[in-house]
């Protein structure tokens, strides 16, 4: 127990340093130029943070999932894009770690990931599926000499051009149903990634997520044998929603901190007087922030508890699906609300992009939250589940 606590603390101390020394100082430039946060990701490699969640037997640090979530929060406070790259990589790592099912190829892969600090991107969305991650068009297609291949049209692949490897959902075989999916891990030297479209979005600009066509050839052992329909509810969906909501909370917390610093500076200019009107507004923002914080931390607790149950049974229930869907919806709506509230406190000083109290990037970054798996699609899923769920 104390070993794992020490491990988590050492890891988080490293993350804190990366956030302060690399993610924060470059955040404005990353945002302005919509460029990849190289400095922060390179620092993560040096800190061996990319293999933090890999068990020690495969060369990783074996930190707890709580520590990964906390790291997303810490990075989010300094640079939303750096935090999102970190989070998305950890989602892929968690999907492999929790579902490799004794596969020698994936065990070796995790050792290699740890040795080389490889960065994994994901290609789970596909043109033509209407945004439903649970369906694929692209399929694992047998080729000559036992080598398989797929071609997938992806509407977005976050940091695809900067990743070493790609984890992709595809149908199990050319004649498989759209929902009969597997996850395939392919290395850059096994793929052609042809970018299409540009990347000049409102927020999360450093994630560099234009669309692309992926063509890959690989031996079949690079497909996880556990079906994606099991991996999604047990790991990929809840881990995505928890890591994302932690980093959104981080962004919102920094916006709040900037608003608080603004109010404090105003109060100092008028010592002995009543708290300035902005202080009242700040109090309103704080109550919005505390709602967000409560939702995010209770979801993490529930996920960790459920993960410790044998067979992770409760994660496969509808109640669990609703729980983590609601986290996504609530956090993605609440985080921009807090940022907008912070802007209301700071006024024009926060609206400007070049003051110590600027919160424009925070607001823009958190506005991406409702699009990452569109909230309306999640509501549609929930609406179906609510017809049958008994206790929610």
């Amino acid at each position: 127990m104390s070993i794992s606590v020490d491990r988590d603390q050492a890891f988080l101390a490293g993350i804190h340093r990366i956030a302060e020394e690399f993610a924060g100082p470059n955040a404005a430039d990353v945002d302005k130029n919509a460029r990849f946060p190289h400095e922060a990701v390179e620092a993560m490699r040096e800190e061996r943070a990319l293999s933090a969640f890999v068990p020690t037997e495969f060369g990783g640090a074996g930190v707890s999932f709580e520590a990964i979530a906390e790291a997303c929060f810490e990075l989010g406070r300094r640079c939303g894009a750096s935090a999102m790259v970190f989070a998305m990589h950890q989602i892929q790592v968690a999907s492999i770690v929790r579902h490799l099912d004794g596969s020698p190829w994936f065990e070796d892969y995790l050792r290699r990931l740890s040795d080389e600090q490889r960065l994994i991107a994901s290609a789970t969305s596909e043109v033509g599926t209407g945004g439903d991650m649970g369906k694929s068009i692209a399929a694992v297609t047998p080729g000559a000499d036992g080598v398989h291949n797929f071609e997938k049209q992806c509407p977005t692949v976050s940091y695809g051009q900067h990743a070493d490897d790609l984890l992709t959902t595809v149908r199990r075989a050319p004649d498989a149903e759209p929902g009969d999916q597997v996850l395939v891990l392919t290395r850059r030297d096994q793929m052609e990634m042809e970018p299409n479209g540009t990347w000049d979005p409102l927020g999360m600009r450093g994630t560099c997520s234009p669309g692309c066509t992926v063509r890959a050839t690989f031996p079949l052992e690079q497909a996880l044998t556990i079906p994606f329909s099991t991996i999604a509810p047990e790991t990929m969906v809840p881990v995505s929603h928890i890591t994302w909501s932690h980093l959104w909370l981080g962004i919102a917390t920094d916006a709040f901190d900037r608003a608080r610093a603004f109010v404090k500076a105003a109060a100092k200019r008028n010592p002995g007087g009543e708290p300035p009107p902005a202080a009242h507004r700040l109090s309103h923002v704080m109550s919005e922030l505390s709602l967000l914080r409560a939702e995010v931390s209770s979801a993490l607790r529930e996920f960790v508890d459920a993960s410790e149950e044998p067979g992770r049974e409760s994660l496969t229930t509808m109640r669990s699906a609703l729980r983590f869907n609601n986290l996504k919806i609530a956090a993605s709506e609440q985080a921009p609300r807090v940022c907008q509230g912070a802007m209301g406190v700071t006024g024009i000083v926060g609206f400007k992009n070049d003051t110590p109290f600027s919160v424009g990037r925070h607001l823009r970054d958190t506005m991406s939250a409702c699009l990452m798996i569109a909230n309306e699609r999640i509501h549609q899923t929930n609406a179906g589940l609510l017809l049958i769920a008994k206790e929610v």
Binding site: G134, E177, T316, T317, M318, T381, G384, L387, I388, K390
Partner: protein, 82 residues
Amino acid sequence: MTDEIRRILRENARLSTDVDALSNDADLYQAGMTSHASVNVMLALEDAFDVEFPDSMLKRSVFESIAAIEAAVSELQGSVAA
């Protein structure tokens, strides 16, 4: 009961294959049942067999095959009788 379950699947599961061509152990999700369709299957099962699936049984594995559905419905009916 199997026939009734097959009827419900035929009307609600929107499988890409004929229900009669599936064995009792065949994976319904692999046969094309979406999670949305599975909700309709559950509603129809509750109606037809006058049972209520508790939340602990509302999970993928309970509805993955005709045999699994039959076992679940039998269990629920048994618990009512007892």
